[in-house]
Symmetry: C4
Subunit: 239 residues, 4 copies
């Protein structure tokens, strides 16, 4: 198989929509949005039996296609306690994103084609001003551009619906979030994403376009929710 002979062929393509080209471009986009400040956040894309993942601890707006990791899918959830299998690794001294087990949750539990993680301050402020188990907002037109469960039974929210995003507690090691994120995804089958307190948000979609638009919608709602809360306005109305 060509890609086994030359694994680098997995990340070299003239197609701007190839995952190894899209991930660097989208990370530059996310940098402009303030989502991946420093070395935080990122995006993974799954196409069929391959998962494309950015490296950890690097400037996300300067990633190049040669920095991308490719993993086979499915494989037993690649946790810190599991040996991960790779189809291709960068030759540089890089480590795959620490979010890898969390991206896997979206692939395994929601059949997602892409998962985005941001450190957006709107997301973090939302987790601080909503001290309970969920962020909720209703009666915002942008809610109707989100989907409640982008899996087989994906259903678009109505303007009148209440968008619910579960909030899980942060842990010192990002990979340790895997179980609590999975539990929240099971407890909230309609969840549009998962907030992590004092950390950020994970959002997924059936492909990178749906993941990105969903991430932008949620970020918009976190931002306006925070503004409303600080202005003393209710964020959920009874219909």
């Amino acid at each position: 198989m060509a890609s086994q002979d030359n694994p680098d062929a997995l990340v070299l393509s003239d197609d701007p929509l190839h995952p190894a080209n899209l991930i660097p471009e989208l990370c530059r986009n996310f940098y402009q949005l303030g989502w991946v400040t420093g070395t935080g956040g990122g995006i993974s894309i799954r196409v069929g039996d391959k998962v494309y993942i950015a490296p950890s601890g690097v400037q996300k707006e300067r990633i190049l296609p040669v920095h991308i990791f490719v993993l086979p899918y499915p494989q037993a959830a690649p946790s810190p306690h599991t040996d991960r299998v790779f189809l291709r690794r960068p030759t540089l001294n890089l480590k795959e994103s620490a979010c890898t087990p969390l991206f896997w949750n979206a692939f395994d539990l929601r059949d997602a084609g892409s998962c985005i993680h941001t450190h957006s301050q709107h997301a973090v402020m939302a987790t601080l001003l909503w001290p309970g188990e969920t962020f909720t907002i209703s009666h915002q037109e942008v809610c109707s551009h989100s989907v409640s469960a982008p899996e087989g039974v994906a259903r678009a929210l109505s303007y009148l619906d209440t968008l619910v995003v579960p909030i899980i507690e942060n842990t010192p090691n990002e990979e340790d979030l895997k179980d609590s994120m999975a539990e929240a995804m099971k407890n909230y089958p309609d969840a549009a994403g998962i907030l992590v307190r004092r950390h950020g948000v994970y959002v997924w979609g059936s492909d990178w376009e749906k993941a990105k638009t969903q991430a932008e919608c949620l970020d918009y709602l976190f931002e306006i929710g925070v503004k409303m809360k600080l202005a003393g306005l209710e964020t959920v109305l009874s219909s």
Copy 2:
């Protein structure tokens, strides 16, 4: 007629000011301004007997000329209950903007050459902090860069005038806003645009340049109006 033989010729042009080139460029501009986050918002342009409209539910900053719909004008207001006539549709699986009937209001009732819809958070916050039927502000220099009624009798506002933007209530289906928007345009013949509560704003002009500058002026006024209100300042002075 060439365009009937080859409808794609209607959206293929080397002229950067051709509507099918302008709409993608302006949507990228609006994305930078935070007006079309996710898949919301957009712009339509009417030149003579043709209306150019972007697709619905897609990332607005990534639209290409081949994605543009072209409709003949005039035609009976194309509501959800009416069969719309097209001169050209994209070959992709796309649907025309859900705002189409609302853009039509601007064309029919104001003889507009362009209509812009944004989900700007400044517009949405203005509708939340002005709970009544209108947003009002006076004594801002930028008011004098707006026009009160960009139709035949367009009149520039003075610095001393009060700018009035009617606010209509949102509905679960965007197309259902058509009648209440039309009613507000009739009740407020000088309206500079129409706000939609918890949703955004519609702004028009006799051409795309006037629509865009008007949309920027209004957005500026929503933003500073919200800042003033939150700082406890009056937004309308008696002259």
Copy 3:
């Protein structure tokens, strides 16, 4: 004289630092900063006996060199009541910037080589939160990057100095600000710029680079001054 034979030669140059190239580039820069939203604001540059001015009422981020007006300097202050003399006018149906008489104040009274006018919301908010005759701030490092009077006797401010920017009242016609702006410039010979209530700011410098850096420093100070005032912090300390 070549330029009388072909006035367009006055605005056509391969040099990116030629005023007719700089003005469009700087206006795009100012658009990104939020200084020239809609059609407001702009910059004029004087080089020796020629003044380069942008048109009025157009999108400032889309100006081209061919849109630039060139006026001879000196000439009797070109007020609305005076016939202005031009070396070159665009062939399009454009009018020179309504700020022309105010730019002239900077040239005549401060020997400026450039004058910038912005509608920055930081400037406008400063005029609302400082209801008196001046905006004042001290003990900000950025003060020491401003100059108090960029004329013959220009003197850099110290970190310990209080920066003073006079505030004049706005008028319905921009050109009518000429006399009150001139009066403020005479009353405050050290003024770093002139704020116009509910309108914006005029800032000048001995060349375009000094005008731009001064405008950025003042805008920074308006922004942080407003933040401090809203947070209940004093903006002027006794040394």
Copy 4:
């Protein structure tokens, strides 16, 4: 030696990662972030026995490689009272950054390969809302992307740790900060950077990439810390 024969060779390179190319590019990046408004802020890079420094008092987003100063390292701390030695100076009438002695602190005391200085408003607001000797924040995921002491014993912070950034008082002459900055770096060996009250921040790293990501992480923490403080939230939790 070639570079003595032709010092300009020290700043002319086709390699985009050469310090003389990186400094202009990064300064444009920092301008977009609002870190170097006007003429403030900048970055220096040390590679082996050479230090690359930008000029003082110029627009940082318009620096070119030919504007860069090159100094030999080590040399006796180049204070205002010391004759500085240069390997290369621009032919223009430029002066090296006034921050030079402060950059030297990072090289001498932390063996840094790069030092960044910003006038970020988030940093300045942090020094105003934390009136004591340090800015402190804990339980933010971004803390764990910072390092506490990027020298030989660099240690990544944990999410549970409290990030401490000493605040020193500003002085009218930037170079006079050298001693108090050095003292703070000695008193706080784990300091992630040094804030200067009403002025900005100095941040360093073992190379330009670590300095930049550290600067972004700290700026993020100043920004969210200020938001939390203004919203009445505690910024340090007991674990």
